[in-house]
């Protein structure tokens, strides 16, 4: 009689959340984006995603066996990492790409540091950085054209394409062979703009026309639904917002990081986004927040528990930092997209932010 009662420390009740519930819910929230990817690019996106997720799980299990610690792949964190990694890969990538990335992400990004909760940076993003450094050409070219659209999202592409081809082959190559962010990045390069305008004859501000075109409502619509070129998971802002809403509702992610991240990008791209002569446009910030990996990054990667600050104020600083870096890389840097690098960089800053934003205990005066 006496021994059968459990004696443990308070509290004796617990709310329903646990690690695996959190992780599998995030996986669930990510599935709409996958559905869109499959719709636009075919079953290949699903195959790549599964390859990434499964190899992450296998790697984690093997390493935990090697480390002689309990195998905890059921908690879903490895699956999630592999899935997020695959989401950052171009759907036209070779099949071994997500596998290499997942193995690296789990082995070097996570298990080396002691597994779940101990990694200094987001393992999925580290895996992506590894892939980008290892196979830069495979990672940044060979984008697949979505089923019903075109890579750059320029809506009236066919109409202007023939025009462009005769006016300036360079401009034609640009709008037909690159993702929206790449087009914008190239258009920001004054020497390129000068050269296409020179090609096309004087008086035609071709760059400006393309630039305005890409931020038009019709193009934004393509971006919003995901009818443009891009990585598997980042393409449809709509699907990602759907998943994000679910996570916010479930209280799994907190609103501060996404809001301040996206808000910073919005404000900064409004101020500094226009190219010479294009003038301020209310559409341009929308172009920037819907394109590339920002939605995926802001809702699903920057909010990663382990690598974001503990404190509420810290999260705001962190999110603004991510936003500023993203805009700097997009507008000034060498890469068209900067979401993953800016999150990785702010991940590293997290302990510092935590240190300086530690809250004052209730009733403690400074």
């Amino acid at each position: 009689m006496k021994d059968k009662y459990i004696v443990s420390s308070a509290p004796h009740v617990h709310d329903k959340t646990n690690v695996s519930m959190v992780m599998w819910n995030v996986v669930l929230a990510l599935t709409p984006a996958l559905a869109f990817a499959v719709y636009f690019w075919g079953i290949r996106s699903l195959t790549l995603t599964l390859l990434g997720a499964v190899s992450a799980v296998v790697t984690e299990a093997l390493i935990q066996k090697m480390r002689k610690v309990p195998v905890t792949v059921n908690d879903g964190s490895a699956f999630l990492t592999g899935m997020l990694l695959s989401y950052n890969i171009n759907p036209g990538a070779p099949w071994w790409m997500p596998i290499m990335g997942s193995v690296f992400a789990i082995a070097v990004g996570k298990q080396v540091f002691g597994g779940l909760g101990n990694n200094p940076v987001n393992p999925a993003l580290l895996g992506r950085a590894f892939l980008l450094a290892s196979w830069p050409s495979l990672m940044t070219s060979g984008w697949l054209k979505p089923k019903t659209g075109n890579l750059s999202g320029l809506n009236d592409l066919d109409a202007i394409a023939s025009n462009l081809q005769s006016l300036s082959p360079k401009a034609y190559d640009l709008v037909t062979g690159a993702t929206p962010l790449k087009v914008v990045q190239t258009l920001r390069d004054s020497s390129f703009v000068a050269s296409i305008n020179a090609d096309a004859g004087e008086g035609i501000d071709l760059a400006n026309r393309i630039f305005t075109n890409i931020t038009e409502m019709a193009s934004l619509k393509n971006l919003f639904w995901g009818n443009v070129g891009g990585c598997i998971g980042e393409v449809s802002a709509f699907a990602l917002l759907l998943g994000a809403a679910y996570l916010l509702y479930k209280n799994i992610i907190e609103w501060r990081i996404p809001l301040f991240y996206i808000g910073t990008v919005f404000v900064l791209t409004f101020l500094f986004g226009p190219i010479q002569g294009s003038g301020y446009s209310m559409m341009l910030p929308f172009f920037h927040i819907f394109s590339g990996g920002l939605m995926l990054g802001a809702f699903f990667m920057a909010t990663d528990y382990t690598t974001s600050p503990l404190t509420k104020n810290g999260r705001i600083i962190y999110a603004i930092g991510c936003g500023v870096l993203t805009v700097v890389i997009r507008l000034v840097g060498g890469y068209p997209e900067g979401v993953s690098y800016s999150i990785l960089f702010m991940n590293v800053m997290t302990p510092l932010i935590d240190k300086f934003s530690a809250p004052k205990a209730f009733g403690r005066m400074k």
Binding site: P136, S137, P169, K170, D173, T186, D189, S191, F192, S195, G334
Partner: protein, 185 residues
């Protein structure tokens, strides 16, 4: 105090011996090293423009005028362009013909990342410069469109830029030099 003095003097003695040795070795080897360098440069020029004799010109940049050994006809110019790469200066020797179109180039000195930037010394890299004029010297990553551009080395865009932009710059200066002289004469 005395101890410090003693230590200081000992160290001084070591330094003096070392300096003397270095000075002596330097005096022995310097002329030889110089000679080797000049010979190498001459060989490099001859490789770029064969069967030519070279006349050195000091102007805004130093360059050599290459003339045919027998006919003395102008064959072109050679010069060494220099610009900062990823880790230090990248020196490229180039030969251009009389219309300033590149005949051939050779990266002669660089300290770039082995395996990436050092690929700039490979003949495949040099080959794509042949036949290009100053306006075509633009790296693809900077908006150049093939085939009238320079394809960046994988993982070494900065090195490629250093070489390409240095050449472009020097050719531009060279063209002013030559044309300026022509007008003056």
């Amino acid at each position: 105090m005395k101890m410090f003095l003693k230590l200081g003097l000992t160290l001084l003695a070591f330094c003096m011996v070392a300096t003397a040795l270095l000075a002596y070795v330097n005096s022995l080897t310097k002329p030889k090293i110089e000679a080797i360098k000049i010979k190498e440069a001459q060989e490099a020029r001859e490789m770029l423009i064969p069967d030519a004799e070279f006349e050195e010109v000091h102007g805004a940049i130093d360059y050599y005028i290459a003339r045919d050994k027998t006919t003395k006809a102008l064959k072109g110019y050679t010069f060494t362009a220099e610009k900062a790469g990823y880790s230090g200066a990248v020196k490229t020797m180039a030969a251009v013909d009389s219309s300033l179109t590149i005949i051939n180039i050779k990266v002669v000195q660089q300290t770039e990342t082995p395996g990436l930037g050092t690929n700039s010394t490979k003949p495949e890299f040099a080959a794509q410069f042949s036949g290009k004029n100053a306006s075509q010297l633009i790296v693809d990553k900077d908006g150049g469109v093939a085939p009238n551009c320079i394809k960046a080395l994988t993982g070494a865009t900065i090195t490629t830029r250093a070489v390409t932009n240095a050449l472009k710059e020097y050719i531009d200066i060279l063209s002013q030099e030559i044309n300026g002289k022509g007008e003056a004469k």
